[in-house]
């Protein structure tokens, strides 16, 4: 290697590092502005949209001195930009005010209920991915066949059905008529005192404490809402898998693999799926984020004590602090997952690295 070669290599390396740095800086800037925007929107909803935010928080039946006190506490006499600054500082230190309904700080409440939502969304995504990916692959391989049609119909119905309605019908059938699953809720009242969760993820806790009867009961509770959310992520994942696989199967390396004499199964499940897996990771991450949102209606139906139920309960009681706190948390997780999937995509797909 000559000196000039190393020089250009070094220079190229240097510019690449700088580009890398710029990309990371841009990424961080995106994260920062998105979170700022998120807080700006919730601030706007909480303070600007209601005619009187103090009344919106304490309710219109509150005595005048309470309203006046809340008004001062909120700093409503200050100009809007100062209010926003205060809101920003509080939100960044995790202070979303106090819930009127539970009288706890909103963050404490959210910490208590969020694991239930995560658990439900995780079970849903696992069901959706485990069933959705193979279905999508089969539909792509046997394009136009019966299974392709079936997958298409499953997807179409999944996109068109109201989730809360399907949940009600599922409860009617599997709980009331067939009695295969437990009634709405997360755990049977019998175990409420004998079982002490540690992490908040009940399935994990029960398994670690070797309380197998509790685990069985938990499974009987989670299976229906989990399967319901799983169906929605299945509809999305199978459709996307099909389209990615069709794209891969038309590539030339597949022809080459066939010419080499590899078995069809090996070509499909190893060569094609491996390449389709890169965008699929993004899709699965996005469907996970979507389930966190979908859980709002599902939790209401299944009395699942998670963030969704917390938000809807607070809504019904005009508890704006709790609603907005929950919105910020779900929004942040949403943004976080989006950014994470973006990063994952960049790491997994070498083609995007040098861009």
């Amino acid at each position: 290697m000559t000196i000039s070669d190393t020089n250009t290599a070094l220079r190229r390396g240097g510019s690449r590092a700088r580009r890398r740095g710029l990309a990371i800086l841009g990424f961080l800037l995106t994260v920062a502005t998105t979170f700022l925007g998120l807080l700006a929107v919730t601030f706007f909803i909480g303070r600007v949209v209601p005619i009187d935010p103090a009344l919106a928080i304490v309710g219109d039946r509150a005595p005048a001195h309470v309203v006046e006190r809340v008004r001062l506490e909120l700093g409503l006499h200050l100009p809007l930009y100062q209010q926003f600054w205060i809101y920003l500082k509080q939100a960044l230190s995790g202070d979303f005010g106090t819930s009127v309904l539970t009288t706890n700080p909103v963050l404490t409440d959210i910490k208590r209920v969020f694991p239930a939502t995560i658990e439900l969304a995780t079970v849903g995504t696992i069901i959706g991915a485990v069933l959705g990916v193979p279905l999508g692959v089969l539909a792509a391989v046997k394009r136009g066949s019966l299974i392709d049609q079936v997958v298409r119909v499953i997807g179409l119905v999944g996109y068109s059905v109201p989730i809360f309605w399907l949940g009600l019908l599922a409860l009617l059938l599997f709980y009331a008529k067939l009695n295969w699953v437990a009634y709405p809720g997360r755990v049977d009242i019998v175990y409420e005192y004998s079982f002490t969760p540690v992490t908040g993820f009940f399935l994990l806790d029960a398994a670690m404490q070797r309380q197998w009867d509790v685990l069985w009961d938990l499974l009987r509770h989670i299976i229906l809402p989990g399967a319901l959310l799983g169906y929605f992520s299945l509809a999305y994942i199978s459709r996307m898998t099909r389209s990615f696989m069709l794209n891969e199967l038309s590539q030339e390396y597949i022809v080459a693999a066939r010419a080499k004499g590899l078995s069809e199964a090996r070509i499909i499940w190893f060569h094609a799926l491996r390449n389709a897996a890169v965008p699929l990771v993004t899709v699965i991450a996005l469907s996970y984020a979507g389930l966190l949102e979908g859980s709002v209606l599902t939790e209401t139906i299944f009395a699942w004590p998670g963030l969704g139920l917390y938000i809807t309960n607070s809504l019904q009681n005009a508890d704006m602090n709790a609603v907005l706190g929950g919105t910020v948390v779900i929004g942040s997780v949403f943004v976080g997952i989006n950014l994470l999937s973006d990063l994952l995509y960049r790491t997994l797909d070498p083609r995007t690295r040098n861009r």
Partner: protein, 310 residues
């Protein structure tokens, strides 16, 4: 080759498919005909179109079609009758109201929501997207950051929070859904604008002295319309589902309005014994949003054959 080429009869198939149209109108009609033929090949898309037309028909003639009063029931004799009961094809609810009549009148609310959201959100997205794409630079950066922020919000949760602040009601639900649905339209319009903002016909218009607003309004926007229409149609199902979800949570249309989501919510109490009260409105929602999905898929395939089958 003789000069007097046989001209096909106007409006015949040959006239429409002619590759040498003699007037602008013939070209336009011909193009529409080709798109229609591609669309009509797809049976599911036709089914979607049929569902939509049926919805429009039912909504237009709700007063004539509904056999009973949707708001006032027969409390004494007709409470919670099962489907098929005397004169009540789909049964009655807890207040003795005919469910079919309520569904028929509810179709108006559904259309009202869908149309209004589209009328508010699509132009906003179109303006933001085309201005952003045509102007570029700082304007583009700022507008797209704002779009991304709204895109980052989970739709239903943002709509929930907005309605909570505005107060429940169908108008506020529409506003909340519109606020959450414009960002994808802006993204699409911007992407479309970027593809031809540097093309020659835009330069030509600019040389002729057209102002940027005129270029955007008269020359950029019309070209973004077709992909926007497809996207809006595909989104209609989502809008219906979100509206129904808000109605189910008691944040949309208020009783006694026969909004389908709210009807499911009121039927929830009787789900174990009188399943039809909640089941029927859900079925209506499913059919209508399925129709919009099929129509949207068909339109996309017909307008953009590249994407077909994916």
């Amino acid at each position: 080759m003789s000069i007097a080429e046989v001209q096909p009869r106007p409006y015949s198939r040959e006239w429409l498919l002619s590759d040498r149209p003699s007037s602008r109108r013939q070209a336009r009609l011909g193009r529409a005909y080709v798109i229609w033929r591609r669309f009509a090949e797809n049976r599911l898309a036709l089914l979607g179109l049929f569902i939509l037309v049926a919805l429009l028909f039912v909504a237009a003639f709700a007063d004539v079609l509904a056999p009973h009063n949707p708001l006032q029931g027969d409390l004494r004799n007709a409470r919670l009758l099962p489907p098929g009961a005397d004169g009540y094809i789909l049964g009655t609810d807890d207040q003795g109201r005919d469910i079919l009549s309520r569904l028929i009148h509810g179709s108006r609310l559904t259309l009202f929501v869908v149309v209004l959201v589209a009328v508010i959100a699509a132009p906003v997205g179109l303006i933001v997207g085309t201005v952003s794409g045509y102007a570029g630079g700082a304007i583009d950066a700022v507008l797209m950051r704002i779009t991304d922020i709204f895109l980052a919000f989970p739709k239903l949760v943002l709509a929930l929070a907005l309605v909570a602040a505005l107060g429940p009601g169908i108008e506020n639900a529409i506003l909340a859904i519109a606020v959450t649905s414009w960002p994808p339209y802006a993204r699409i319009a911007r992407a479309e604008t970027m593809t031809f903002r540097n093309s020659e016909f835009i330069s030509a218009v600019r040389l002729m002295g057209a102002s940027p607003p005129r270029i955007v309004m008269r020359h950029v926007m019309p070209l973004c319309l077709s992909s926007l229409i497809v996207r809006v149609t595909l989104d209609m199902a989502g809008i219906i589902l979100t509206a129904a979800g808000l109605g189910f949570l008691g944040l949309g249309a208020q009783p006694p309005l026969p909004e389908w989501g709210a009807m499911i919510a009121s039927g929830r109490r009787f789900i174990l014994d009188q399943w039809w009260v909640a089941a029927m409105p859900g079925l209506a929602i499913l059919i209508v949003s399925l129709g919009f999905n099929l129509l949207g898929d068909g339109l996309r395939d017909a307008l953009d054959p590249k994407e077909a089958g994916q």
